[in-house]
Amino acid sequence: MTISTAPQTLYEKLWQTHLVEEKADETPLLYVDRHLIHEVTSPQAFANLRFHNRPVRHPERTIATMDHNISTRSIEIDAAGEGAANQLRALEKNCKDFGIELFGMGHKNQGIAHVMGPELGLTLPGTIIVCGDSHTATHGAFGALAFGIGTSEVEHVFATQTLRQTKAKTMKIEVKGHVGAGISAKDIILAIIGKTGSAGATGYVVEYCGEAIEALSMEERMTVCNMSIEFGAKAGLVAPDQTTFDYVEGKEYAPKGDVWQQAVADWKQLKSDDNAVFDSIITLEAKDIKAQVTWGTNPGQVTSVDSIVPSPDDFNDPIEKESCINALAYMDLIAGTKMTDISVNKVFIGSCTNSRIEDLRAAASIVENYSAKGQSVQSSVDAIVVPGSYRVKEQAEKEGLDKIFSDAGFEWRLPGCSMCLGMNDDVLEEGDRCASTSNRNFEGRQGRGSRTHLVSPEMAAAAAITGHFVDLNS
């Protein structure tokens, strides 16, 4: 890998090392190292390959999983309805016909693409990773340039192993110092989005840095990078360091032996140079970040749990003001209400944002504290826990987390995307109010007329047991 000596950002280094061709009158062509696919955004791309009689150029660089519309109650392919089954069967056939490895129903490696890739060592620093899913940004936690693509681009990657991309602007987000006790990675990213607004990074690739980011585990960095798209960023990045290398080493698909040594030597160069110039810089003080809860219908409409539901009068920008009015109406909230007075009747712990082993441990530890006081899930609340992959599920069960959840009244489900987008039967009813560890609180996202509050796993666990949001630090 050759890296220019002029000061560069991490993004520019990743760009430069993947630039196949750059011509004045063509959009630059980038090499794609890893392509993750799933049942929902791939079938039409395969159909076009067949139409043109084109092969998948590097099937070994593509990995398929079933995640978006599978049942979390059964591993039967038909369990989530006819439409889902058709897509899942199409994926099976397409992978077989084109020679792609598939982690299908019940496979030990099956899981949400963005949970499965990292835990198997398919996600490596210094690579470009794409998937027909906007939360592909998750893999940026490893110092990989990772972003979501549309189905036409899925087809382009299949056929050529490359993509045409316009160069993005660069944004540095520095989180200085250390977060207080009980503040999670989810709180950090929600606080960032609250500061930038839900489109604050459109046109940018964001690099997260600062002591608070360096101190995060890989799971936590993935939570942060996962939500980069929620404020418009094409991708999110964290420079790889020893934490990254320790996580990747020994994983099933990770390089081994001499190749591993060479890889780490190359990866150590993957950080923004001291004098690198960013197009935009945002700074946050970690100590100011409190536990976050969204109140509106986009992830930028978020506040601290010890705060109140804002009023349209709090916004000067006419579009934000209008957006607040619409959001309060949809969410059925009154300005001035204490966040801790908002009651929920559904709780979802899961999704590519927060379904990894550390997320489940964090939620389980809160549940244990309440259980010790004799408290369990409120009778008025339905709460489900959906691990991100079969590996996460197995580990959680080994640690007895499933029992902690089940004993307290949570449902322990099978892995999948589940209620994050509700493509299967894990859908909210009209009027339901859900504390959700997922990434989008859009109108109707979890079910038509349903209301979503995005929170950390700890907050979701506490809400399930108390029936409302809780300031765990008070």
Partner: protein
């Protein structure tokens, strides 16, 4: 992909900011393996009063009689945010839209539109305001000239108005010529193979 050179059509104003792709096409309609059948579900939750999509919402702008033959969608900031689903531009295209005009688009959505031949046009806030004013009452017919990067219309005072817009050189070339972008890149296999030959073994 069909070639795009010029298009004249009726503008429908959707006066909502941050319209996400879940609103454009909700998840329950993504379970198809074909490329067709999405237009009928476009903006489903706003467009229909019931889950099954049999009762049109008379208040939703696309259901108003005067906008029935629209082919240009005028939108607000951050249009197409959220999920990368290409089903969103597919649904817009199948409904009959050829052009979407907004002050800003989400990045993935913008690229997806170009890849299927649906033209996304970015204009400044002032120009967008003028268009919203003119589009009220289904009175705005607008001509998009991709060759010259302009849109033109006659305003309510009878004056001819022209706005220019920007589009990437290659993106414009692909739209104008209906380029098969996969085929285009496959012509560069030698370059790609030369790149691969130099990649480190871990990559």
């Amino acid at each position: 992909m069909e070639k795009f050179t010029t298009h004249t059509g009726l503008v429908v104003p959707l006066d909502i900011a941050n319209v996400d792709t879940d609103q454009i096409i909700p998840k329950q309609f993504l379970q198809k393996t074909e490329r067709v059948g999405f237009g009928v579900h476009l903006f489903h939750d706003s467009r229909y009063l019931d889950h099954s999509g049999k009762k049109p919402n008379p208040e939703f702008i696309l259901n108003k009689p005067e906008y029935q033959n629209t082919s240009i969608l005028l939108a607000r900031e951050n249009f197409g945010c959220g999920s990368s689903r290409e089903h969103a531009p597919w649904a817009l295209e199948e409904y009959g839209f050829k052009v979407v005009i907004a002050p800003s688009f989400a990045d993935i959505f913008y690229g997806n539109c170009i890849n299927i031949g649906l033209l996304p046009i970015k204009l400044n806030e002032d120009q967008i305001e003028q268009l919203f004013t003119q589009a009220d009452g289904a009175k705005l017919n607008l001509t998009v000239d991709l060759t010259n990067n302009t849109i033109s219309f006659t305003n309510s005072d009878g004056n001819e108005v022209n706005f220019s817009f920007e589009l990437g050189t290659f993106q414009k070339y692909c739209l104008e010529n209906g380029v098969d972008s996969v085929g285009w890149t496959l012509n560069k296999l030698t370059t790609i193979e030369a790149f691969e030959a130099k990649m480190p073994s871990w990559q």
